[in-house]
């Protein structure tokens, strides 16, 4: 039916106006200098040691938080799958609800909680443990990333895991597999699409955040996101900012390739 395809027309227009042209705009700014002359300088600026360092740190922190999110989310998803049906809806609800408290505020709340004389240290001291100096360090940023993006790991993984037929799991037990063998040999390979999309949903925002590092890093830590943001707001060098953004898009291309490989339909993955 050809008329069916026509229904996508508004969307196609929107893709052009809202995705393709803006990417073109970024490419234009990124590949020109202040005087509109073509240059690769802004893109190559990623090689500048300051930028490289920020990028390296960003990648590192994003990796760490992605791994932590995965380690938290995976067992949770399995537990959620196996809990009985009534509770299942409740649990998704439980993990989505926090998204309704503004994320800037939630992140900021960690400032309050982690402050040297803050709530958590207060509680630790009350039970006789030494206070922790987390705030304004890399750990605080990782914590913020894990906190903000954890639901984006939980949901896609849960989504895929919940669709694994119970009888497949039972078949594995039936053939003598122990629980850990079931997890490594059945659950894990079968939930790869969910993991890939969860990893994407956590890694990319972590990699490019500037808000979390601003709020929990005490202004001491510059991630690549902060640098791009500062080029736009503080330094007013939009060309450089765009050039660096173009570099960031490379990561997105990579993750799209991953998605393409593991999640052909695009159906199973998100929410």
């Amino acid at each position: 039916m050809t008329s069916k395809k026509a229904l996508a027309t508004p969307f196609m227009i929107w893709i052009v106006a809202g995705t393709i042209i803006p990417i073109g705009a970024i490419a234009y700014y990124g590949l020109t200098d202040r005087n509109d002359r073509f240059t690769l300088e802004n893109v190559l600026a990623i090689g500048n040691s300051v930028h490289l360092q920020a990028l390296w740190l960003s990648v590192l922190l994003a990796l760490i938080s992605t791994v932590i999110c995965f380690l938290i989310a995976y067992p949770l998803a399995i537990i959620m799958k196996n809990s009985n049906f009534g509770k299942r809806g409740f649990m998704i609800f439980l993990f989505i609800l926090p998204m309704w408290m503004n994320f800037l505020l939630r992140t900021m709340a960690w400032q309050v909680l982690l402050e040297k004389n803050g709530v958590i240290n207060g509680m630790l001291e009350a039970i006789g443990l030494p206070g922790q100096e987390i705030i304004n360090t890399l750990s605080a940023i990782v914590l913020g990333m894990v906190y903000d993006f954890l639901p984006f790991m939980i949901l896609p993984i849960y989504n895929v895991i919940s669709k694994i037929d119970d009888s497949i799991i039972e078949a594995a037990y039936d053939l003598g597999a122990s629980t850990s063998e079931v997890i490594t040999q059945i659950y894990l390979p079968l939930s790869v699409p969910g993991i890939v999309s969860g990893v994407n949903m956590v890694f990319i925002p972590s990699l490019t955040t500037f808000v979390i590092s601003n709020m929990l890093g005490g202004g001491k830590i510059n991630l690549i996101g902060n640098i791009i943001e500062q080029e736009f707001t503080v330094s007013s060098n939009w060309n450089l900012g765009s050039g660096l953004s173009l570099v960031m898009m490379l990561f997105i291309v990579v993750s799209m390739i991953f998605l393409e490989r593991f999640d052909k339909t695009g159906e199973d993955s998100f929410i």
């Binding site: 300051v50 360092q53 304004n136 707001t233 503080v234």
Partner: protein, 328 residues
């Protein structure tokens, strides 16, 4: 009521005047106020430069005003519409000439200086009177610095005895090294929240505007403020009107309103930043007026320097070293 849809778009530092004033202004004039705020002038600049959003009135700091004037982004104020300009002290109009040579573009809103706010109990016997005290390793992890290019570099430049407005790359490099050296000791680079951090005793000392002092004292009476002996930055934040303003008369009405003595007084009481409105000063308590941490002595003022715009190359240079220092 917003009679006839009259509006004025204001873009200022966050929490920089008493919000009640908006209601009063609207009541009196029938002009609706639309307020937007920024953290640093650097954040405001591209918005105005690209005219990506159209504001009428801004309240930037000295050096930024200079830059805006240079780049022809401001329009001259019609002082016929701002009769209350008379309330602003001559001394302050004189100061303004540093960045607005003919007093044509700006009307001062606040002025002040940066200093060190510290917790008398936590610093103990140590005398705090120099910027170098912020490099004291005894207070490692208890020092709060500003998180704003020019204000942060200022501290290092003052210690090194350079001008705040230096564009000498070697001098800047030196300052950067100094700041990097201090970085491990710093608890946090913050702006106005320095006040809260000190009030909660999460840190022992921090760089802050003298205008915050009174308010900080309310939260924690162990706090003390000093303007270091090396001298400091003198800032003047003034109202200006954008070139592209579509509501220029409303903007002038707003400025005029803010210059009225009762309004300026009310605002001072809310904000506690020194006000250049002499008519308002006259209405204040003696204690406050004589508190030299609030209303600086001439001696202090003379020891301070006003920030100047550095031009595109200068800005780029600062930006470059700022990133380098942050990347450490």
């Amino acid at each position: 009521g917003n009679g006839g849809g009259e509006k004025v778009y204001i873009y200022s530092y966050g929490d920089y005047f008493d919000p009640d004033l908006i209601g009063m202004f609207e009541e009196e004039t029938g002009i609706t106020v639309v307020l937007d705020t920024y953290d640093t002038c650097e954040e405001m600049y591209p918005v105005i430069k690209n005219n990506s959003a159209s504001y009428d009135v801004l309240c930037p700091s000295d050096y930024m005003i200079e830059r805006l004037i240079d780049e022809d982004l401001l329009s001259e104020i019609n002082f016929d519409n701002v009769p209350n300009i008379k309330n602003i002290g001559d001394k302050y109009m004189e100061m303004s000439k540093e960045f607005d040579p003919d007093n044509k573009y700006s009307v001062p809103h606040t002025f002040g200086t940066a200093g060190i706010l510290y917790n008398t109990e936590m610093v103990g016997d140590t005398v705090i009177d120099s910027w170098e005290d912020l490099w004291n390793e005894d207070f490692s992890g208890e020092i709060v610095m500003q998180d704003s290019i020019r204000d942060t570099f200022m501290v290092a430049e003052k210690i090194l005895g350079y001008s705040l407005n230096t564009v000498d790359e070697d001098e800047l490099k030196e300052a950067t090294e100094l700041l990097k050296e201090q970085k491990p000791l710093v608890y946090k680079y913050a702006n106005d929240s320095t006040r809260d951090i000190l009030a909660s005793e999460s840190a022992a000392m921090g760089v802050i505007w003298n205008g915050e002092y009174l308010y900080a004292l309310e939260l924690n009476d162990k706090l003390e403020f000093v303007v270091p002996k090396e001298g400091s930055q003198l800032f003047v934040d003034s109202w200006v009107i954008t070139k592209t303003s579509e509501n220029k008369e409303n903007a002038e009405a707003w400025i005029n309103f803010m210059c009225r003595e009762d309004i300026a007084k009310q605002n001072f009481e809310y904000l506690t930043y020194s006000c250049p409105n002499v008519a308002a000063q006259a209405l204040l308590d003696e204690d406050v007026l004589n508190n030299e941490k609030v209303f600086l002595t001439d001696e202090t003022i003379d020891n301070c320097e006003v920030l100047k715009d550095l031009g595109p190359e200068g800005n780029e240079l600062y930006s470059k070293y700022w990133k380098e220092f942050k990347a450490e």
